[in-house]
Symmetry: C2
Subunit: 407 residues, 2 copies
């Protein structure tokens, strides 16, 4: 009899985005004259950078001719892309990241979801709250949690982010084995300082733990004191994996390209305490279950590192950061406390009421869609997330409406 993985039965159905869609549909039916402005989902708005488009087309022309056609590529990604990543994205680290420590993939979602496979099922997991749900759900699927009770899964250690720690949790005072960190944070928009990140690295070294560092939003950092990469921190290479993405940097959410850094001296341990290279384990996983990213997509991603690509990407991110500043200013003017919106496309707003109630208020009084914080965990219940991924015009219009409605 084909027995299912019963851990899946523990998973809570996520109706967040379908619930949002339903409420928006009802509102739109009753208010056909109002144009709803969506500042909910974390998706980009604008066309791919022109440099990427050109290179994308060029690579497809190559695929149209037998002599330049490419079939299976290296599972880890083409050297032309890995080299550019290594040369450009880790300049601020004291030790260079060599190209062969970079695994190109089709998404940070996939990589953050899959990486846990190379670990034992019995490890103790520390998960932020609020959190990007993929970290949680993939560990539930793997059987690392107990049942869901009162808003949380038994067995995980939750790292609460709130006003008391300025949305950057400190290392716990008990040992854990695997730690998920994401900075600039989704959903809160909070950033971590080098000193704070050093504490996490020190904790991981002390406990022989591992940090999975999700840096999908690092391109939004404009404050030079903040770390773009965990490898800017002393000792991090031995205890940290880093996830990066072209999604929010270059608008690749629908084009799909990302990468993961797995340093060669980063170790996991067997039952006898013997160290094993996580690089080798992940390489085995990656080459067995994945067949690399579409060749033209890898070429398009490489164009991000051209001079024109860098200018175009920076311009786009500056634009979103300007939106974020406008949103932050508007909600601050209204008297709400918030975090994020600086060095981040997300603004996390303390509504001091139930997040769905606040959601309904903004929808019904201003025709603006946000994301209720409850969708990101128990700690998110009094918060909403507003995203800067929209046009300046829409952001201005939305904030004007919100001010009129709530002032």
């Amino acid at each position: 009899m084909i027995r299912i993985n019963e851990n899946y039965l523990k998973l809570q159905a996520s109706y967040l985005f379908s619930d949002i869609a339903k409420r928006v549909a009802v509102f739109q039916q009753q208010n056909t004259d109002i144009e709803v402005i969506k500042l909910g989902i974390g998706d980009v708005t604008f066309a791919l950078p022109q440099a990427c488009i050109q290179e994308f087309h060029r690579a497809i022309d190559e695929m149209a001719v037998d002599s330049s056609f490419r079939g299976y590529g290296p599972e880890q990604g083409y050297d032309f892309l890995r080299t550019k990543i290594a040369e450009n994205d880790f300049k601020r680290c004291s030790e260079p990241i060599p190209p062969d420590e970079i695994f190109v993939s089709d998404g940070a979602k996939c990589d953050t979801g899959n990486f846990q496979e190379i670990f034992n099922d019995a490890i103790k997991i520390a998960i932020p709250d609020p959190v990007y749900p993929v970290y949680v759900d993939t560990n539930v699927m793997a059987g690392r949690s107990g049942l869901f009770k009162a808003g949380r899964y038994d067995g995980f250690l939750y790292l609460e982010s709130g006003w008391d720690n300025n949305f950057v949790p400190n290392p716990p005072d008990v040992p854990v084995d695997l730690i998920y960190l994401c900075f600039p944070n989704n959903p809160t928009g909070a950033v971590i300082t080098k000193t704070q990140l050093q504490e996490w690295v020190d904790y991981a070294r002390e406990h022989r733990a591992l940090i999975l560092f999700d840096a999908a939003y690092e391109a939004f950092i404009r404050d030079d004191r903040l770390p773009h990469s965990i490898y800017e921190i002393d000792g991090a290479r031995e205890v940290a994996i880093e996830f990066r993405s072209f999604s929010k940097t270059a608008g690749f959410t629908g084009t799909r390209c990302a990468y993961t850094v797995v340093p060669k001296n980063c170790m996991g341990f067997d039952a006898q305490g013997k160290g094993h290279s996580l690089h080798n384990l992940w390489n085995r996983r990656h080459t067995t279950k994945f067949n690399s990213v579409s060749y033209p997509v890898q070429r398009a991603a490489t164009a991000v590192y051209t001079e024109a690509g860098q200018v175009q990407v920076k311009k786009r991110i500056d634009y979103y950061l300007n939106n974020a500043a406008i949103i932050r200013q508007a909600v601050t003017d209204l008297g709400f406390k918030c975090v994020g919106g600086v060095n981040s496309p997300y603004i996390w707003i303390d509504g001091q009421r139930d997040s769905w109630e606040f959601f309904d208020l903004l929808l019904n009084k201003a025709g603006v869609v946000c994301t209720p914080g409850a969708g990101f965990g128990l700690s998110g219940k009094p918060f909403i997330r507003i995203s800067a991924f929209n046009t300046l015009e829409n952001v201005q219009k939305a904030m004007g409406r919100v001010k009129n409605a709530l002032a």
Copy 2:
């Protein structure tokens, strides 16, 4: 302490393709005047079909303009592609496959590798021998095997394919829970009849087992009596998942697009014997750990179903099938017994000697590279695989050389 998944330590290192590369390099150094002809790897040779190229470019033009740009798409794939697949690829099935039973993905390798995640770790696996190694390795990683001893993993039931069963194993006389079948087969090129496949479906229904049916090579079937899909078999929808790919059909090995059919009435069971929809479980897995295929790639794949696309794809496959026939005739003329090469791009040749010995013979005497059967399992040891993925000129030249060397 971050404990590793120690099942990875059971995995045998695969040196197959690196060993091949090393031997070829040595030969090439010693014989700089001989052009080595590679008929080893199962990769395609020719440019993408023109219909796909045009649609690929068109989709990138959409991505270049804000108003038509696409960000995150539905994780299961766009309806425009799923609808075309449903309309075209399952015409011969008595019941239609609806679009929403189709999950678009970036490769049949990924899907055949990942699908086992939704099952219990204790299920009994039946694996063909010889076999595409991904089925084996992913189950070893999940902990469903014992140690590797004398060429095989403890705990799996191996389905041997050889001359006694004409390379189509019969259902075993003991119960198993999960069965991997691949027809037209990689590596043997063998095909399965409807009667034989019906026996497997009946077996699965009797034992409440599940068949994972890898149909990546179905486009090579030219014999109308053979099933293209397992869903042509009565009762299969309840006990079978089917994997398809654009890789070998339309040359997408480097472009990456595939799909998996998960019928809604296909069930797995919990410890109490209660049925659960595998469609729902896979949907949860797919949406949690995957973010769909690049939008322009999905558009390019859709072009396979245009009139021009169908003509171009058929022409390409006819070309490879002609190569296969030439290879099959040549090795038969030399007195070797073989299977495949008809309705399949692979020819599986009984060398009646160690496969590496035969490999070296073909390399050193004819400058032709094949794949030693030992790389596909214990049963492959006296065989080699020759692939039809090359130009007609190279295939003719290679077979001429082989005839001269061995006649």
